[in-house]
């Protein structure tokens, strides 16, 4: 084989390999391709072996680095959580919900009216929707105080319900939150409006009457996204809420960043955002196939927790999918060896899609050339008022006396799958709960059907009377 042939072979191999292999590999290729066809085969085999080893080593190194960092973070975050379970903190929570723009309100109103005219909405539902849309045209502010009492194994939270709903603003409750688990009890406490507005939360010493078992991260005292509130306010380990197979760790300017494609807070929400926030509006709400997502977009579909090693591995920042939710610790306070966030700011943004041409492709509606505008929706400012070592210890069984009626939401708070039962000291498993829910729904359907029929039966008296009278008249007419 002449020099020209060797050159051609080399070029072909280089072309086939592309630009992803290092120049060193090409040197190997050239040196082994000098002795005929057999040499070419050997050269290819050598190349494949070298490439495989290199890539495997690279992957292994990366993976082991990542898993090492993850192990470190797991340890540190667990330690943080353990320490936070020993302290009692008080927080002031200020929730600001920003008014929607006039254009957005008008557009939403138009949409409701169009749906009504198309017969997709009942009038009463449309009216309710319009009322809420109008409400959203105003700025709203609410403030509450929350006390978090670490009990070693669980937290007791108490204070006003963190809600902008006027009805709930004077309601104080206390709840038991298990790390990485649901809220297992909530107890409303009657307090006067004046008392609820004072700076300190009321001292609550009586046992909890078990009222509800709430799923995942929810909780009445957790403002905004309750999972984030738990992580920042309670110091809960975020890895409890992230399935490890979807987690990756990187380091950025000395800060560890935990990225995850999934978290245990509203899976459906994550899926929705894949389509809705991409600037391509999917009106049918069907899932857009993952393969169709642009790479850059796919990369942004994740949540990121920032862990600062200089702050004792505390979570210092959170970025939601496409930056729609941002949480930031603005100030820190030292308490012994523990660094606590002194001011946390949670911001939520929404994306409005304006204009664009509607194009339907494969049953999915796209808005091509639409303008995507990001606007702030709400801002939650949480200030640490006080911190102290927990002095009193309460056992869980003392807090949760049995023989109470429980509303169990673990099957899905969003879907309203609530099961009511008598708490006997043990909570049913999810499978048992599912069976109980089916039985309860069956009973409800029967009861609801009975009510409608009963109401209708009263009204049936009138037509029955008319028919009987008509029959009587008909018989009389025939006799005459």
């Amino acid at each position: 084989m002449g020099t020209a042939t060797r050159e051609k072979t080399f070029q072909l191999q280089r072309k086939a390999l592309g630009n992803c292999v290092s120049p060193m590999l090409f040197c190997c290729v050239e040196s082994t391709s000098c002795s005929g066809a057999c040499g070419v085969l050997k050269m290819r085999a050598t190349f494949l072996v070298v490439a495989f080893i290199t890539l495997s080593l690279h992957g292994f190194t990366q993976a082991s680095e990542s898993s090492e960092a993850l192990r470190l973070l797991q340890e540190q975050l667990a330690r943080q959580e353990h320490e936070r379970l020993q302290v009692t903190t008080r927080w002031r929570i200020r929730i600001e919900v920003f008014a929607r723009s006039e254009d957005t309100v008008r557009s939403a109103e138009r949409s409701v009216q169009e749906r009504l005219q198309r017969g997709e909405l009942k009038r009463e539902d449309a009216e309710r929707l319009l009322q809420s849309i109008r409400e959203s045209a105003k700025d709203r502010v609410s403030e509450s105080i929350v006390k978090v009492e670490g009990q070693g194994d669980f937290w007791i939270t108490s204070g006003k319900v963190c809600s902008l709903d006027e009805g709930g603003s004077s309601l104080a409750t206390k709840e038991v939150l298990l790390p990485g688990s649901y809220v297992i009890a909530a107890s409303p406490i009657s307090i006067s409006l004046e008392a609820s507005q004072v700076q300190a939360a009321p001292e609550l010493v009586e046992p909890l009457s078990v009222r509800s078992v709430r799923p995942e991260a929810s909780g009445s005292h957790m403002p905004g996204n309750p999972l984030l509130s738990r992580i920042f306010l309670l110091g809960e380990n975020p890895l409890r809420w992230l399935p490890l197979e979807f987690v990756s760790v990187r380091k950025e300017d000395g800060i560890y960043v935990i990225d995850s494609r999934y978290w245990y807070y509203k899976f459906t929400r994550v899926k929705e955002q894949w389509t809705a926030s991409s600037g391509i509006l999917n009106s049918s709400e069907s899932k857009l196939p993952k393969s169709k997502l642009p790479e850059s977009l796919s990369a942004r579909l994740k949540v990121s927790f920032f862990i600062d090693p200089t702050k004792g591995f505390a979570v210092s920042r959170f970025e939601g999918i496409q930056g729609e939710e941002v949480v930031e610790v603005r100030r820190w306070r030292r308490f012994g060896t523990l660094l606590l966030p002194e001011q946390i700011v949670m911001q939520q943004f929404a994306t409005d899609v304006k204009g664009g041409e509607r194009v339907v492709q494969n049953g999915i509606t796209y808005l091509v050339g639409a303008q995507v505008v990001r606007r702030p929706v709400s801002k939650i400012t949480i200030d640490l008022l006080s911190v102290e070592k927990t002095t009193r210890r309460v056992a869980l069984k003392d807090l949760l006396p049995p023989d109470r009626t429980v509303a169990d939401y673990r099957l899905g708070l969003d879907t309203g799958q609530v099961v009511f039962y008598r708490y006997e000291g043990v909570f049913p498993s999810l499978q048992q709960l599912s069976v109980m829910h089916q039985q309860q729904e069956q009973r409800r359907r029967e009861a609801s059907g009975t009510n409608v029929r009963q109401t209708a039966r009263w009204l049936w008296v009138l037509p029955a009377l008319l028919i009987l009278t008509g029959l009587l008249w008909y018989i009389r007419s025939r006799r005459l």
């Binding site: 449309a126 009216e127 409608v452 028919i467 008509g470 008249w473």
Partner: protein
């Protein structure tokens, strides 16, 4: 099934009353009339309470859902019973309904001028124009009310006394209201009634004036607000309200075959979610709605009753009686209801109008005639 059979029975009684196969007796009629009057009083009070205080709206909606289909037929029978046993009651009721109609018409016109006497969250717009509905919930209902007042105006125009001039005003205002609502169903109903009226006018010169006023006002309104005609064109250009009606109507045969006694609540919750059947309330056609809610037999009996009413309207028009105007009103509303359905409040004057037309004597030489005047 029981509700379907009860509705069938009541419709059958109405048909037999219309055809004269049943002769009501005073004692029972008075009792029934009292019960029906109570029913209307309750419905009316609830309706106005719901308009003033929105918090009772869901409660009223539930009541309306149960009683909705019965209101028009109850009004229909009330007129019949009033005619037979209690003419004073009939006069009082006619007066009350007349005042109600005038208030509703005034509300539509005031709303068209840009004033809504109370806060109502929904506004119906087309090309930037806010379609008036006044005290009613939608322009479609406003259209039906305007058609009834139009018939009333036509009736008074046929009177020899001063009512003639009031009738002219009423015809003009009602025609304007029909146009301004931009309700295509009301337009079509009015068009049908005017068309039939022109046929009658070939033999009765007296009819040209009210028909001329109607057409004249309609033309004037068209010139002042030409956008209304764009709405008619829009119907053929993918208007979603037309498309949703057609979609629901296509499902009606299979729905009726599947649920011959009406679509039950249980069936609604399961099958409707899968969009297999037409949901009661989605067809926006009065007759089909009866079929969906009560089943095949009430659907057919309503068809028979409406046919008999149209026949009576034709007979009234062919006769020399001024009641031909109510007949034209019946034609207009029957046509309009192919594309809409009356609410609880509108069902009362509508059923009353039909009952009145049904109870009218057609013989030109008849000694006694029933009319609301």
């Amino acid at each position: 099934m029981i509700e379907s059979l009860l509705m069938s029975g009541v419709l059958l009684v109405s048909i037999l009353l219309h055809t004269g196969k049943i002769v009501p007796v005073t004692t029972e009629s008075r009792f029934l009339l009292f019960v029906l009057a109570l029913f209307f009083a309750c419905v009316s009070v609830m309706y106005f309470l719901a308009r003033v205080d929105h918090s009772v709206l869901p409660f009223f909606s539930q009541l309306a859902e149960v009683s909705y289909g019965w209101v028009w037929i109850a009004a229909f029978l009330s007129v019949w019973l009033g005619k037979c046993c209690c003419k004073i009651w009939l006069k009082v009721a006619s007066g009350a309904v007349g005042v109600l109609l005038l208030i509703l018409l005034a509300g539509i016109l005031v709303h068209a001028a840009g004033y809504l006497p109370y806060r109502w969250g929904l506004s119906y717009t087309f090309a930037g124009y806010s379609r008036p509905h006044g005290l009613l919930m939608s322009p479609l209902e406003a259209g039906i009310v305007a058609l009834i007042t139009w018939a009333w105006g036509m009736f008074w125009m046929a009177q020899p006394d001063t009512r003639r001039w009031v009738g002219t005003l009423l015809v003009g205002l009602s025609s304007a209201a029909v146009y301004l609502t931009l309700s295509r169903s009301a337009w079509l109903g009015l068009g049908a009634a005017v068309g039939v009226g022109i046929l009658f006018a070939l033999h009765r010169r007296l009819l040209w004036l009210p028909l001329g006023v109607t057409v004249g006002v309609f033309v004037l309104c068209s010139l002042a607000l030409p956008v209304g005609w764009s709405r008619s064109v829009y119907a053929a250009q993918g208007d979603p309200s037309v498309a949703s009606r057609l979609t629901a109507w296509r499902k009606v045969p299979t729905t009726l075959a599947q649920y011959p006694f009406g679509v039950s609540d249980e069936a609604q919750s399961v099958a409707i979610k899968r969009q297999e059947v037409a949901q009661p309330g989605s067809a926006l056609n009065f007759y089909i709605e009866i079929g969906l809610a009560y089943g095949v037999l009430p659907f057919l009996l309503t068809g028979i009753l409406v046919f008999l009413l149209l026949l009576r309207a034709w007979q009234l028009g062919s006769s020399n009686l001024p009641e031909f105007a109510w007949g034209l009103g019946t034609i207009a509303t029957v046509v309009a209801l192919f594309f809409t359905y009356p609410s609880v409040l509108v069902s009362i004057p509508l059923g009353g109008l039909w009952g009145m037309v049904s109870a009218m004597e057609v013989k030109p030489d008849a000694t006694t005639r029933v009319h609301t005047d």
